[in-house]
Every structure is written in structure tokens, then in C-alpha cells.
């Protein structure tokens, strides 16, 4: 089933994190979908910490003569790190990520690869979607907030089934919970991204309830993405905005108090508002100073930061209109 890596076309990375299904059933389903494509592929399971039940299934598959790669992480690092570990091993021209549980119908995953003819990254969207009204609301709130903050509209960032071209990988560095926003980050790098409808697996049912901590995490994630996407290269724009407005409010209040004292002779000594205004002024200055520090960090590392991505350099005759993307790949391989 697995051919020589020279002609390897698709690498499938499956991070096995907290939520996973039984390995043999999952394997059978994905293999069916992948075989239907008629392209060579490899499977990479990344075990994010010990997942004994899943390993049992994998061992059985090995006894049956199935071939795949298993990467075992010593402890649970989280899905982003597991994905990165898998990406590093992936040798195919196309990289797929698939969930370690039944989320989408395995027969549909080929659609993602086919979509790559016109885009750089195809991300799945479970459609039609089952789920209660509350879950629908929660989802729309999350995606609405993401769209508002990043300016990109997605409807199923939670779907783990994605396909991407190799060149996207070179410019992605995922950490924390950023795997949710893989499509957003790729779009920011100037890659073309498309959502592809996949049938939802009938077994895709989340039984547990989301705890309030999870909600807090998601909102903070969005904030992180907001900061990464909009302000990483101009921290003073962000901190300056907050700092100047805080300072402004404080200064206005302070001016009012001083005028009140000087003109209307109202004593300052027993006015807590004086404390508040001084605090605001000082806080504004501190936040502004943080922004300046951020700028200092950017500047002192400016050589390593590139603000733009070159698609290709067109020139005749010496470079022969070779797309730069391919040149990049050669360079990356040489590394």
C-alpha cells in the first residue's frame, strides 16, 4: 500500500490527543477514503502522551500487516505540538490532518485533496451538521467572534480534517491552541484557503459538557490570534491605543479636580477621585511603555522578521520564470 517515498503524494498526520476512537475502525474508514483517491500515501499517528487503548488497536493493525508511522511523545504536549511533530516527519507533497476520532465521514476525505487543485489549504466543514440549539449558538458565537477579530469568515474551525500543500507548512509554526486557527494563520500568510463540505460522521457526538474554563480558553485564544494577526509587528499601535486612552481619561479627571480646587476652592485632600485619576494617568503611561518595549523587541530582531511573502520572482531569461515557491522548497529540502 505504501510506495517508495520518492513518489509519495500524501502524508496523513493523525494526532491522538485526549479524545480518540478505537484505532482499527478509524483506520479502516480512513484507508477506504484514501484508497479511493488512487494516490500513494503514508499515515503518521502522533501519540500525544501515553494512549494505551489506542496503542492496543495500532498493535493489532501492525499484526494484520498494515504499515504506518507512530510518533510517541513522552508526555501530553497538546494538539498543536503533536501536529508539528507529525509535520516534521511528513514526506508527501500534500499533507492531511485527520482527527483520531470519528468526526467526518471517512469516505469524504478525498474531497479535501481534490480541492487543493485550486487552493493551498482546504479545511473541512461538517455539513449537514447535527447538534442541539445551544451547541449551534455556541458555535456561531465562536465563529462570529473570530470573524469579527480576524476579518475571516469560517464556519467550522473545530473540524480537524484538513489538507494543505507542503509549502504552507514552511511558514506555519503552531503552538498552544493555535491548531484551531490553522486556516486563519495560513490565510494571513497569503495562502488561498477554502472550506469544503464533508459529511459528519454519525459517531461524532461530544458527550461531555464544556466547562467554563474551556470557554475562557477559547476567548483568550481568539485574543491571541487577534494580537498575532494585527499587531505583532506594531506593538505600539496596540498598547499605544490603550495607553493613550487610559492616560487621557486620567488626565481629564485630574484637570477637572485641579480646576475645582483652584477655582471653586473645593479641597482636594478628601477626594478619592484624585487617587483614581493618578492611577489612570500612571497606568496609561505604563501600558504605553510596554508598547515601546515591544517595539524595541521587534526592532532588535528585525533581521529575522520578514513582513511580506514573495510568491514568485518573474524574470527572463536567467531565472526562467521558476516560481519562487518551488525554489523555496529546494532550499528547505537542502536544509
Amino acid at each position: 500500500m505504501i510506495q517508495e517515498s520518492k513518489s509519495l503524494q500524501i502524508s496523513v498526520v493523525i494526532p491522538v490527543c485526549e479524545r480518540y476512537s478505537e484505532a482499527t475502525g478509524l483506520y479502516a474508514e480512513y484507508a477506504e477514503g484514501l484508497n479511493a483517491l488512487g494516490r500513494s500515501y503514508e499515515l503518521i499517528f502522533v501519540l500525544d502522551g501515553p494512549r494505551p487503548k489506542f496503542v492496543t488497536g495500532l498493535e493489532q493493525l501492525i499484526r494484520e500487516g498494515r504499515e504506518f508511522t507512530i510518533i510517541k511523545l513522552s508526555r501530553s504536549f497538546g494538539e498543536s505540538t503533536a501536529l508539528m511533530a507529525g509535520f516534521e516527519r511528513a514526506a508527501g507533497e500534500i499533507i492531511m490532518t485527520l482527527p483520531a476520532y470519528h468526526q467526518v465521514d471517512g469516505r469524504d476525505i478525498g474531497k479535501l485533496v481534490e480541492a487543493l487543485d485550486s487552493v493551498d489549504l482546504a479545511t473541512g466543514r461538517r455539513w449537514p451538521r447535527v447538534g442541539g440549539r445551544f451547541e449551534f449558538l455556541r458555535r456561531s458565537a465562536f465563529h462570529g467572534l473570530t470573524a469579527w477579530v480576524t476579518g475571516q469568515q469560517y464556519s467550522d474551525l473545530g473540524c480537524r480534517a484538513r489538507a494543505l500543500r507542503r509549502r504552507v507548512l514552511g511558514e506555519l509554526s503552531l503552538y498552544g491552541d493555535q491548531h484551531y486557527f490553522l486556516a486563519v494563520l495560513a490565510d494571513r500568510q497569503g495562502f488561498r484557503v477554502k472550506e469544503v463540505d464533508l459529511r459528519q460522521s454519525p459517531k461524532d457526538r461530544f458527550d461531555g459538557r464544556y466547562r467554563s474554563r474551556e470557554y475562557a480558553h477559547r476567548v483568550l485564544d481568539i485574543f491571541t490570534i487577534f494580537f498575532l494577526v494585527r499587531f505583532t509587528k506594531k506593538p505600539l499601535r496596540f498598547f499605544g491605543m490603550i495607553g493613550v486612552s487610559t492616560f487621557g481619561v486620567g488626565a481629564l479627571l485630574l484637570t477637572y479636580l485641579v480646576i475645582d480646587r483652584l477655582v471653586f476652592r473645593n479641597p482636594l485632600a478628601d477626594r478619592p477621585a484624585l487617587l483614581l485619576s493618578s492611577l489612570l494617568v500612571v497606568l496609561g503611561l505604563q501600558v504605553f511603555a510596554l508598547g515601546l518595549l515591544g517595539e524595541l523587541i521587534i526592532f532588535t530582531h528585525a533581521r529575522g522578521i520578514k513582513d511580506y511573502q514573495v510568491d514568485e520572482v518573474i524574470s527572463y531569461p536567467d531565472l526562467d520564470a521558476e516560481p519562487l515557491a518551488q525554489l523555496h522548497e529546494v532550499v528547505n529540502e537542502a536544509r
Binding site: 505600539l236 487617587l275 505604563q286 515601546l292 528585525a302 522578521i305 511580506y308 511573502q309 514573495v310
Partner: protein, 321 residues
């Protein structure tokens, strides 16, 4: 490959399909009589119109043209930086892609560089733009930029500039710094000359700027001041910034002490509290400065490397090398 070009003309284009051909013709017409090898680096900043196909045709017709195609729109600074990175000449000339600069002026720039200057900037002395929305704000901005950065240039907004490649390739360009390249370059202490250039009214397309950038320019100015003057001494800079706080805090506390000790009025919590807040805040700013020193240490910007870019070494006649 032909000879290494001596001059690289870097022109960013963003949706300028009508301008790119006339621009090419004008540059060729201006530089051919000078008889020096040159190249044109056209940067397509994610145009949605026919800029790229036309640029591709131009590159095919004229081997001196290279078109750097960005994956999407990244803004003018990035376009300039991308072009400068790709340029191979010893001298890099940058100009706008909207035909408002006149390539015929390039000769003057090259002459100035030959005189020993490192950067030559253009001054649109008969600027063809709206007075209220463009010229007056830009005049104020230029005065301010000159005062703050100590690089008194009359027209920072003029894109027509010429640089020694060895220098400009080392100057960090990011965010929206293209307006401040000479100020940014001042970390290397270059010799800067300013010459008058012609400026034409816009023929095609529409202007891509408005009045709304005042706030951004002010913040950028703060950044430039910080990074050019004080990168190597952040502690000093933040300590300077903390002086007003220190002053106000000390004054308030001294006043409170005076009231309590000499007039026997009871201690006022709000007043004493504000004094302490100001004082502590000065301390935190001071710590930020110390933190800045740490940042500088782990960064890769070194003042002595910038000094090397423009230094001239002179040997006395008797020295044996």
C-alpha cells in the same frame, strides 16, 4: 547572466495597470543615455488588476526587468523592502509606481551619490497635490519628524530616493517605516543630501492615502525616536521618561510632609496616595528600561555594525599596511 547592474530602480506597484508600461519606458529613456548597466525591480504588492500580466510581458520583452510578485497586499513599506532585498545593483533608487515621480531626475541622484553621499532624498518643491488634505499636513509632519529625529528633511513622503545598496540593505524596514527610511537609516550615521525633484499630478488611478494617518505617524515617530536614538541604551531612555513622574511624585510627597510636619493638618490619604503612585510608577518605568537592556542583549542589532556601514578609514602616508 549579463554584468552585475550598477543601478537598481525599485518601483512598487499596487493596482497600477495603466502606469507600469509608461513607467518602464520613462526609466529606460532616462537611464539609457547614462551608459551604465541597470535593472528594474518592479514589485507587485498583490494587485488585483492587470499589473502582473503586463509586468510579466515587460519582463519577457526586457531582460532588465524583474517582477517580484507578492502573495497578497502587504503595504508600501513591505513592497519597498521586498524590492530592495531583490535588487542586485550597487546603488538602489526607489520611486513610486504612480508616475508622479519623474525618472529623468535619477541622473541627479546618481551624481550626488558619486559626490560621496550615502542617501539622496527627493524634495517635491512644486508638489502637485491638494493643499488642505495633503500639502499642509505633510508640511507639519515633516517639521515634526525633522525635529524629533534630528534628520531635517523637507519631504519625507517623497518616494524618489537613492541609496548605497550596502547601507540600505542593512537597515530594518517594517511596519509602515517607508516614510522614515532616512530617519531609520540615521542609526548608521549616513551622509544625506536632499535635491529638488519634479512632481507630476496623478494621471491614472486614485491616491491611496488619506488624512487619517496622523495618529499612526505620531506613534511611528515615537518608535523611530526610541529605536534610533536609544536602542543601545534603553535604560537611559526609560529613565528619562520616568523623570516627570519622579518629579511630580516627589513634589506631592514633599508637600504632604510639609503639611503634616509644620502645619499639623491630618495626613490626606488621596494626596499622599497619588504621590506614592507617581513615585512607584517611575520605579516601574526604570525597571522597564532595565528590561530593555536585556532585550537589546538578546537581539541582533549592534551599533558598531551600523557604524561600519558608513565608516571611512584613512591611513597616514607613512603607515605600512
Amino acid at each position: 547572466m549579463p554584468d552585475r547592474p550598477k543601478v537598481s530602480v525599485v518601483v512598487p506597484f499596487f493596482n497600477e495597470e495603466e502606469s507600469i508600461r509608461p513607467m518602464h519606458a520613462a526609466i529606460v529613456a532616462a537611464l539609457t543615455p547614462l551608459n551604465i548597466p541597470f535593472e528594474m525591480v518592479f514589485v507587485d504588492d498583490g494587485s488585483k488588476d492587470a499589473t502582473v500580466p503586463i509586468g510579466r510581458e515587460l519582463a519577457r520583452e526586457d531582460s532588465r526587468v524583474r517582477l517580484v510578485k507578492f502573495r497578497r497586499n502587504y503595504g508600501q513599506t513591505a513592497a519597498m523592502a521586498g524590492g530592495i532585498e531583490q535588487a542586485r545593483g550597487e546603488v538602489i533608487v526607489t520611486m513610486d509606481g504612480d508616475l508622479q515621480n519623474d525618472p529623468a531626475d535619477i541622473k541627479l541622484f546618481l551624481d550626488k551619490l558619486d559626490e560621496g553621499f550615502d542617501i539622496v532624498v527627493g524634495w517635491r518643491h512644486n508638489r502637485q497635490d491638494k493643499l488642505i488634505s495633503r500639502k499642509i499636513p505633510s508640511m507639519i509632519a515633516n517639521r515634526l519628524i525633522g525635529k524629533v529625529t534630528g534628520v531635517p528633511i523637507k519631504d519625507n513622503g517623497c518616494s524618489l530616493k537613492a541609496y548605497r545598496a550596502s547601507l540600505i540593505k542593512q537597515i530594518p524596514l517594517y511596519s509602515e517605516m517607508h516614510r522614515f527610511i532616512p530617519a531609520m537609516a540615521s542609526i548608521a550615521g549616513p551622509r544625506i543630501a536632499e535635491i529638488k525633484v519634479r512632481h507630476h499630478a496623478r494621471q491614472f488611478g486614485k491616491s491611496k492615502y488619506g488624512l487619517s494617518r496622523v495618529y499612526k505617524v505620531l506613534l511611528d515617530l515615537m518608535v523611530i525616536k526610541t529605536v534610533t536614538t536609544f536602542t543601545a541604551r534603553p535604560l537611559l531612555w526609560f529613565t528619562l521618561l520616568s523623570f516627570p513622574l519622579l518629579f511630580v511624585g516627589t513634589l506631592i510627597l514633599a508637600y504632604t510632609m510639609y503639611l503634616v510636619l509644620f502645619t499639623h493638618t491630618p495626613l490626606s490619604l488621596p494626596i499622599a496616595g497619588s504621590g506614592l503612585i507617581f513615585l512607584f510608577s517611575a520605579l516601574i518605568l526604570f525597571s522597564s528600561g532595565a528590561f530593555g537592556e536585556l532585550v537589546y542583549r538578546v537581539g541582533d542589532m549592534r551599533e558598531h555594525e551600523f557604524a561600519k556601514l558608513t565608516q571611512k578609514v584613512q591611513f597616514s602616508p607613512g603607515i605600512h599596511r
